[in-house]
């Protein structure tokens, strides 16, 4: 179960002497198992929205709730635990630890959960298998292609079996062929695991595969497409 409820969320931050409003009075509900794609121009609040959904940042006003838990009311450590167990992240630049092999990068996601060593090894192998990289477990990120690195990042996001997956331009650094592979993989995993998926993308062909497509403009979200069906 993973249902987001955002009510009148505003996020402002200081940039030098200016106050920038990244998200403006945003209210939306993202239901359990839904795939929401968020589009919009650079600097219009897409990544900030994702950070708010992931508990990486707190709203200046309004509330962000996940299954009734208000992020504004819980402590940083509890928010950290929530991220560790419930929310998976995928980044445009993959954000793998450059010095660690693929398997260790995936394992890093299980460390805060206190999973025992043997169980960690089993789950890591399974996660890498699920993204087709079982034979690349000992390779460092620099020894992998962009697509393979993003697959490792997906394995890292999913190894803890989260109910929410937040993806920030996951295909932004990939060529067309690899982009298709990654989106197909994400769609497959979303479908198989019943994930609540929020995916930020510039690419309309990727966004069209989501159930709902919202567009961020000047910090406001407007829904453009709503199919609400599993493809």
């Amino acid at each position: 179960m993973a249902t987001y409820r955002l009510s009148h969320v505003t996020k402002q931050y200081r940039k030098g002497s200016r106050t920038v409003t990244a998200v403006r009075d945003l209210s939306v509900e993202i239901t359990d198992g839904e795939w929401l794609a968020v589009q919009g121009r650079t600097g219009h609040g897409k990544s900030t929205l994702l950070h708010l959904l992931g508990g990486l940042d707190r709203p200046s006003s309004g509330t962000v709730e996940l299954d009734g838990r208000d992020f504004g009311q819980i402590r940083d450590t509890e928010l950290g635990r929530l991220r560790a167990g419930t929310i998976g992240f995928i980044f445009q630049t993959f954000n793998l630890v450059p010095t660690l092999p693929a398997a260790d990068n995936v394992e890093a996601a299980l460390i805060p959960l206190g999973v025992a060593g043997t169980e960690r090894a089993r789950r890591v192998a399974e996660a890498l298998e699920s993204v087709g990289l079982a034979d690349r477990a000992r390779h460092r990120p620099a020894e992998l292609s962009g697509g393979q690195q993003q697959r490792v990042a997906i394995a890292r996001a999913l190894v803890k079996q989260p109910s929410v997956l937040l993806a920030d331009e996951p295909t932004g650094n990939l060529d067309e062929e690899t982009r298709e592979e990654i989106v197909t993989l994400l769609e497959k995993l979303w479908r198989e695991r019943g994930l609540t998926l929020v995916l930020v993308t510039h690419d309309s062909s990727v966004a069209r595969r989501a159930q709902r497509v919202g567009v961020m403009s000047n910090g406001r979200l407007s829904i453009r497409q709503d199919t609400r069906r599993r493809t």
Partner: protein, 472 residues
Amino acid sequence: MFFFRYLRHELRARMRQAVVIALGLALGVGLVVTVIAASDGVSKAQSGVLKGLYGVGTDVTVTKPPPPFNPASGTRIQVGQNGGQVCNDGKCSSSAQTIDNLTSAEYGPIGYSSVASVARLHDVTAAAGGLTLTDNQITIPASLLSGGGAGGLPTPKSFTVTGVDFGHPDLGPLSNATLASGRELRSSDANADVAVVDADYAASNNLKTGSTITIAKTKFTVIGTVTQSAAASPPDVYIPLARAQALATSNGKTLKNDVNTLYVTAASAADVPAVQREVSHLLPSATVNTPSSLASQVTGSVSNTAHLADDLGRWLSVLVLIAAFAIAALLTIAAVSRRVREFGTLKALGWRSGRIMSQVLGESVAVGVLGAALGTALGFAGAAIIDAIAPKLSGTLTTSTGQHFESFGPSGSGSSSPTVAHTVSVPMSAVVSGGAITLAVVLAIVGGLLAGTAGSWQIARLRPADALARVA
């Protein structure tokens, strides 16, 4: 374990940076180890100087300051245009004579019973008494006293004599000696006019076993010669304590039943300050000398080097250490800044700040351990260089002979109080002790921890959204 795997991968991948930080720490630590080794070496050289004077087993010596100079006592030679006279302990004469006095000019008398009292003190293992004396001999020709003398006073001959307590042969100056010829002093010699002579003194004065030597106008038979270590400045002649007590005077008074030096052994080096307190309490007017207090009386290059090692060396090593710590901290902060995305991602994965900080601290401590190893190696190298290039040091301890000479003549008047200077040449040897190595390890790890803490402080303040936004 994931912690160590992560640590290993990080250090391996950032090997060059780790080595640079470790070398920085090693430089500071190595200098500290070298300075400590040099300082220990100088202390050892100083103790070598003192050992010759007070013996190997002695931790504390007890003396009393000499009584105020009494013009009526001692030797007084007055020479004028119309002749002169020699006054020896108040008795004056104008005839030619040879003066031979065995005196305790440097120290005042201490009752022999004090030896037993000191030996009973709580932290004292053993105590022995001794007499540290100077024999002064001068021959005054009749021509000088009749007013026809020219060229001033003849040069007096002085040599040092020690009265040896047979109760504790392992204490006092003779304890450090090695028999070169003849035999040693025994308890059966307590009242005999026999002497053991330092081999160097014997050689320069044509003395050998069976020869006689005059001390306080009494002939002593040389029964043996002894050598002391190269670092020692030994007495010239050793005689039984009872004979020394019978012949010696202090300010005109006999020293029968007195000693002027107590040689004391403490239960351990750590007990020396306690022994010093206890003896001071028992003998309030006594001067209680420890090796460190005696070291301050030594002059010469050994003393100059000690000051150099203590002052310049200490400050130089502190400055280099601070610089090394600062460089390590700055490099670690710079490294953490380059890893902001990594740490932001880990926070997004749910890692607590404390966990990430401990990872960075672990890396810094590992670099510190590497710095400790390199620093210790540099310390050994520094000590070896000092051993190879350092010149021999000399230490000089000057003591009074107790004589006072005055002259009045056509060329003016003058007076002199001859002194005896003991100059000892000692090799400078830098020794890297276990304590110095421990200090090196602790300093390097502390340096690593400080650097890691500086980096960790950044991580603690890092908000994951900011970290991720900075690289987006």
